[in-house]
Amino acid sequence: MNRELVITRKKWSLRKQTLALILLSVIILFIMVTSGFFVDAKKLDVHLENRNIAPSLSNLFGTDWLGRDMLARTLKGLTLSFSVGILAAFSSTVIAVFLSFLASLNQLLDRMVTWCIDLFLSLPHIVTLLLIAFAFGGGMKAVVIGLALTHWPSLTRVLRAELLQIKNTPYIQISRSLGKSSWWIAIHHYLPLLAPQIIVGFILMFPHAILHEATITFLGFGLSPEEPAIGIILSESMKYLSTGMWWLAFFPGLSLLVMISIFDLLGQNVRKFVSPYQFKSWQV
């Protein structure tokens, strides 16, 4: 009868849970990323006497056909993927913020920016990425440029819509009539109001960028083969999978998946944390 009155008590409030998840994911990511720096360089060397060892206590992820420790290579690869991801996501966010502000200036610019967004979204992501990375000649620089130039559209669309809404609020019009320049309004009103969207967009762009980096590297258009990127590890291991060396692809792939999932978890929870009301309406 009084079902509404039965309140199940949780130990932690939703806010605390969210904060705890954010902290936890930051810590795990931090460990994953920094451990790459502490990898013993000797483990990356060729040790032909230990080649093709299945996962064991001394080589947790096994060794490859040249006797290199796969755990060490995976950790190095994750660090590399992370730095590529952070560079690309950061540049993409900068592009998105710039374009959305540009679109807010007048109707013509808005139409042009919207057209660009539609253009980039209508092309398959990976094709544009391959084209750009190929045009810049491959390697780390080309991958970062390619990722930066392909990941901005969805965030730009969100920011543009948000700005359109803010632009028409009375306090912006009042600010204008008080003699404030567009620049002043952008810095003091728009940016702080958009900050949550920008931060969340940045974090959620990360997993995309990393996955796409691994994809084009796997396809051979990305990072050069000397660099122990996850994509390289995966594509090299393809040749050995048929001989039963499953651990060559399994553990690096799994680590990449774990890293991306944690990033996604982080992004979702930051979003929940900075705009709880909005999150509630999304769930409905």
Binding site: P170, Y171, I174, S177, L178, H189, P192
Partner: protein
């Protein structure tokens, strides 16, 4: 600001506006406000009184017609001497800002005005959500009435407020009209209020042609 210095007349000449194509909200509206007078603009809701106010204050640009100050065309650039106070103060203040930041946005604050509006120091450290409508509206009014403000468009400025606050705020505005020759266009659908404060009253329906 000495009495009768600067601009003495605000004129709206032939203003027309529409939100949708072929559906004029009003056409060819003429209106003048002198400094030192309060013009009451009354009329039923939804007829375009607020839109007219926004056109005069420069929030919207008229599709036809223009705003003139002392016979010269007025195009807002920098601080606009025609300021507007809106009905809903909570929409007129950035929800992220502490109240003290409101005054960083204006370059001149009228200290006497703050005193006569009954400002309290503790309001400044709060966020907009922690103040009442009446308190917020006083911020909006103080922000609009800088030393360079010559005309005030008061769009249902006190409709949301209780009688005592309403009287207090209008008292302050009337003082400014008397002492500083502020010109006021008071938009309201409350005839009693307009009868009390206005020098003359215009019926909005007599202004408009569609």
């Amino acid at each position: 600001m000495k009495p009768w210095s600067g601009v003495i007349m605000l004129e709206a000449r032939g203003l027309s506006y529409r939100y949708q194509a072929n559906q004029w909200l009003f056409k060819d509206v003429h209106l003048t406000v002198q400094r030192g007078e309060i013009v009451g603009l009354k009329g039923p809701s939804g007829t375009g009184k607020t839109t007219l106010g926004k056109l005069i204050a420069g929030y919207l640009s008229p599709i036809e017609g223009m705003i003139l100050l002392d016979g010269k065309r007025h195009i807002p650039d920098g601080f606009n001497p025609i300021q507007m106070v809106l009905q809903h103060p909570e929409k007129a203040i950035n929800p992220q800002w502490r109240m003290s930041r409101i005054f960083t946005e204006v370059h001149s604050i009228n200290e006497e005005l703050l005193l006569s509006l009954g400002f309290k120091n503790e309001w400044l450290e709060r966020s907009p959500a922690e103040l009442s409508g009446g308190e917020l509206q006083r911020f909006c009014l103080a922000r609009a009435l800088g030393k360079q403000t010559q005309f005030l468009i008061a769009d249902e400025m006190t409709t949301m407020l209780d009688a005592v606050t309403q009287a207090g705020i209008w008292h302050t505005v009337l003082d400014l009209v008397k002492n500083k020759n502020l010109g006021v266009l008071a938009i309201s659908h409350d005839p009693h209020l307009l009868n009390q404060i206005s020098t003359r009253i215009i019926d909005f329906s007599s202004l408009i042609r569609k």
